[in-house]
Amino acid sequence: MHIYMLKRLGLAVLVALAVSMIAFGLLRLSGDPAIAIAGEGATQADIVLVRQTYGFDRPLPVQYAEWLGRTLRGDLGESIYFKTPAAPLILSKLQTTLVLGLLSLAFALVISVPLGVLAALYRNSWIDRLCLGLAVIGQALPNFFFALLLIMLFSIVLHWLPVSGSDSWQHFIMPTVALGYYAAPAFMRLIRAGMIEVLDADYIRTARAKGLPASTVIFKHALRNAVVPVVALTAVQLGYLLGGSVVVETIFALDGLGYLAYQSITFKDFPVMQSIVLLLSVIYVVLTLASDVANAWLDPRIRVA
């Protein structure tokens, strides 16, 4: 267990390093960062000064090492557009996005778990086909299009929900649905497949032979074993949801990381853009690590070895 975890931790650190290199490279892709940082109207002397101050004249590996050092200390540079330090700016938006991501994940699970269980219980019946049909249709609907349809229906026609913003819980309903529904089919398929496999297992027959009610059999004995792969997917999906929030946050003008990312990309605000890519990647790495731990914990065969 401990060795396994140490190995996973080592891999996570390596991946994070690789991602940081890519994020570092991303900024270099944009050309001379000194010109961008010096801002418009800067003279050649200003640019040279910036280049020296930031060390852009030194070899790339040295620059990378220094940049990594600063990043690790929490110094993400300064937003070129908003002219404030990038780290607090990003952190101030992170909460909204995390809330949105978790809500969407919860929403996806809330629809996919019952549907997946139902489809597995009544496999090959019309219920099963309906659930699978919903999944295929759900995955075919582009989320930006779906988001606009939601606005159209719930804000314009029905007047039930606010269109944009992030001030109250009502503001989160449509973004949550628009972001979360897309993750649901994957969960549903996985839960269905897992449940089908588990429901055929001998220990389910044992549980039924014990006279346990169907709910206990399904939710205690079956689902518990079927969710193990779901936990791994949860981490992956949360990562996707955080990344995918760019589209949804922009449409709903939800003041989160995705919206900031979109703004920074359109304003060519490289330090912010780079930091968000790095931050989301690191979050993903941490999430997968956490899911490995959770998986090991959920499966006694790994936990109690």
Binding site: V19, V136, F144, M152, R189, Y262, I265
Partner: protein
Amino acid sequence: MAALAQPAGSPLQLIPTRSVWQRIWRNKAVVVGGGLLLLMVLVALLAPWLSPHDPYAQDLAQRTVPPVWYSAGSWLHPLGTDPLGRDYLSRLLFGARISLLIGVSVAIISGLIGTTMGMLAGYFGGKADLVVSFLVTTRLSMPVILVALATVALIGGSLWVVILVLGLLKWDRFAVVMRSATQQVRSLDYVAAAQSAGASTTRILLGEVLPNVLPHLIVVATLEAASAILLEAALSFLGLGVQPPLPSWGLMISEAKAYMFFSFWLIAIPGSALAVLIFAINLAGDGLRDLLAPEGRA
């Protein structure tokens, strides 16, 4: 992905036998999805002949004409015109070309990268496997949309930039699936036989392994193509994908969103077309996957 039961006799061999066709025919998902997809491909190929107008020709006197089923519509523009007076049906038909071109090209690029990596990892195992696993993990940890958006913003949006960026980003699933498929094929007798007969590694990989993992490759390629089309649409929707006046469906949605409250059909038409295309590809892909999985697992 379900395990390969019997790769040598996989249901989708290179030259399907009669019974294989029957199995495919019986799978409704493949028939419906494949049929729809075929229709869209035909429409895309025949777009220049099917289109009533030049998809780029503007007519400022005929702006935002509604489709024919509205009282103000006319058969001159069956699906109406956009706010610059361009024929919507023609744009939609040409848009199918762009979406399919993106789907196919991205699947080919990412397929080449991912398959090479996956096959090398699966065949050689050991260090090659470790390196590929590491690359896949690293790739997975990067948010695709964001990296694609940023890259397109940095080097400028165009059709080929979008294709290249997505192609370079979406190889992960190919690598994962090809790796495990190759691992299984590798252990089969005839591969061992070919090895002992002194066939070169390249030959074994291309001649023995690849044909056997091909069905899986096709399934992944289908699903990745769908995902690439959606991503392009999202990028174009955010204004960082292909550039106007190209009639990409994502771009058409993006351009129509300003008018959605008053001329809903402007957004509903390309939106539905996109949804139907993705639906068809996914349905066909899912169906193929079911055909491959012996226990009929989804």
